[in-house]
Assembly symmetry: C2
Homo-oligomer: 356 residues x 2
């Protein structure tokens, strides 16, 4: 049963980091004594330039047949003024929807030795280890109508959820919490939104099935404060799409190492979509200085969640930690005056450690 993996390099540094991740995947296969069927596809601005679409149907078809998809990053200034439906982001939203990956998992942890770059005081960072579960295919992002109304005098977006859409992502979060510290924080705005009131009901109903998980409801404005004032008080956070977009980015900068953050978007039975949290970073693209570790850690999540090799995932994470602990840094992680290595060298050092 050869596993199929599709790599979507995308734009900017996406190409550089996925090239290294592909190499890592090949070497992991050899270690595991398995073979992957590795394929590539177009997405984002590059895809638009070549095909007129940021998400060609050929890419979708390939991904739908795969066990997992690795995405680099999409976007760049040259595509910023295109109409919304062909912009690189449309490709990203499109692939999420087409793969039905309704749960976006974003682990955020403190890396010992990397806390210098954090905006927070060091004592707040101790033991930060949370995972944000963001609903990814519903809510304000996709609800209809989303249009100018009253002859252009007004505008409307729609926050729509079915109970089933809420249930399935909340279940994922409960399951994750069970395998961790058994604490689930559900974030909503139940004092204002009807959708949040349904969200809260669903969480309370399902909590009966997970009696070992302690559930807490926090309003989104309060959550935005607590993420900064006590980030280490969270274990698993679950929230709807737009709140998740805002809070996960806020959380992403807390530890000071956005170049180290992976993400996994998973759904029902289709392939999972794995991508680093950082963007395409057009300003440093092509210079060989991008940090490949967020993508390596995304590969680890892929091995764990989609391919069924949790030990290989552990091995990658341990090697990333080891190399960081040895003091090796890419440019984004280096303090001023500190030496740093390029994309290829960092990749090589981590891959060599995985071999041991």
């Amino acid at each position: 049963m050869t596993k199929r993996i599709v790599v979507l390099p995308g734009d900017g540094i996406g190409t550089e980091v996925t090239t290294e991740a592909r190499q890592l995947l090949v070497e992991i296969a050899a270690l595991l004594g398995v073979q992957w069927e590795l394929d590539e596809g177009l997405i984002g601005g590059g895809a638009y330039d070549q095909t007129g679409s940021p998400l060609p149907e050929e890419t979708v078809a390939k991904c739908l047949e795969a066990d997992a998809v690795l995405l680099g990053a999409v976007g760049g200034p040259q595509w910023d003024n295109l109409p919304g439906d062909v912009r690189p982001e449309a490709g990203l939203l499109g692939i999420r929807k087409r793969l039905n990956v309704f749960a976006n998992l974003r682990p955020i942890r403190t890396w010992p030795g990397l806390m210098l770059a954090s905006p927070l005081k060091p004592e707040l960072l101790e033991g930060v280890d949370m995972i944000i579960v963001r609903e990814l295919t519903g809510g304000l992002y996709f609800g209809q109508p989303k249009a100018r109304v009253e002859g252009g005098r007004a505008v409307v977006d729609t926050l729509y959820y079915t109970r089933g859409e809420i249930e399935r992502v909340v279940r994922r979060a409960f399951t994750l919490a069970q395998a961790r510290r058994k604490k689930l924080t559900s974030v909503d705005k139940a004092n204002v939104l009807e959708s949040s009131r349904m969200w809260r009901e669903v969480v309370n109903e399902l909590s009966v099935e997970y009696p070992d998980v302690v559930v807490d409801h926090v309003l989104v404005d309060n959550a935005a404060m607590q993420l900064v004032t006590r980030p280490n008080s969270f274990d698993v956070i679950v929230t709807e799409n737009m709140f998740g977009d805002i809070l996960s980015d806020e959380a992403a900068i807390l530890t000071g190492s956005i170049g180290m953050l992976p993400s996994a978007s998973i759904g029902g039975d289709g392939p999972g979509l794995y991508e680093p949290v950082h963007g395409s970073a057009p300003d440093i693209a092509g210079q060989g200085v991008a940090n490949p570790l967020a993508t390596f850690l995304s590969v680890a999540m892929m091995l764990r969640h989609s391919l069924g090799y949790p030990e290989a995932a552990d091995a990658i994470e341990a090697s990333v930690l080891a190399v960081i602990e040895q003091g090796v840094r890419t440019r984004d992680l280096a303090g001023s005056g500190q030496a740093w290595v390029g994309t290829k060298e960092m990749s090589q050092l981590v891959r060599a450690d995985v071999q041991r």
Copy 2:
């Protein structure tokens, strides 16, 4: 032309802080050689207990005839399980809507001497001085439908804005920016929301009328990061209701002194609504330890924006600063082991300074 001011003490520490603010207002009147017509009204949980409504019509009528309204805070655990439409928050949302105060102004600044309690590294706090202008009477908060649909199987909230609603709040923000450092950051999610695309259009159209103001558009997820990583890069931020709720609370904890943050909600020609950013703090209510300074600074905003006495506003702000610089602290501001004073003593010290 005697100015009319209605005080709505509300719940919890709201009573304590507005009692001091009322005293401040009386003394300011004497200094200015004017008289206010001071009245009081019920709102929040206390109003519900006494009248069955968190916003009695009598309160609304009084406020509509006033020049300015000072609100303490509403809410408390004893009212948390009431139906949504009679909860204390419903009173708050109701008074905003009835007074048509569509622009919520939240200044956030670093107080020298009060940076200890900030979660951020001190070097990031230098020179933080921003004002968030949040649209307060539209968007997801009030849009219809807001209901269970499809026989309870699904739910919908509606993000609705007219072009006029966007224009009037954006104009306020431009005007404020002109009187400050002439930098306006408009926050939206134009890569996903149609309402954000209209928001961005309106900002760009109006910018022609304010050529001295430099305008920047930032996506809300990115803004949530930048508030933490470079809070001193902002001057005036303008955004829609829900984004503003989240971002203004996130920004509120950055400087470490939420007990010092005032807010003003202003509209067309009706009275402005002034309130401290902190809540009713039921855990410390009645103990005489609440910090009255956010409410004093809200009175300053009232004198500036609604009553036409900017020098009196300056005087209050200068006295608050002076007392803080003398090292006087309320409990929330005191470092561990540091001495602190109660609500009445802090109030008395600042009022005495205003007299000088």
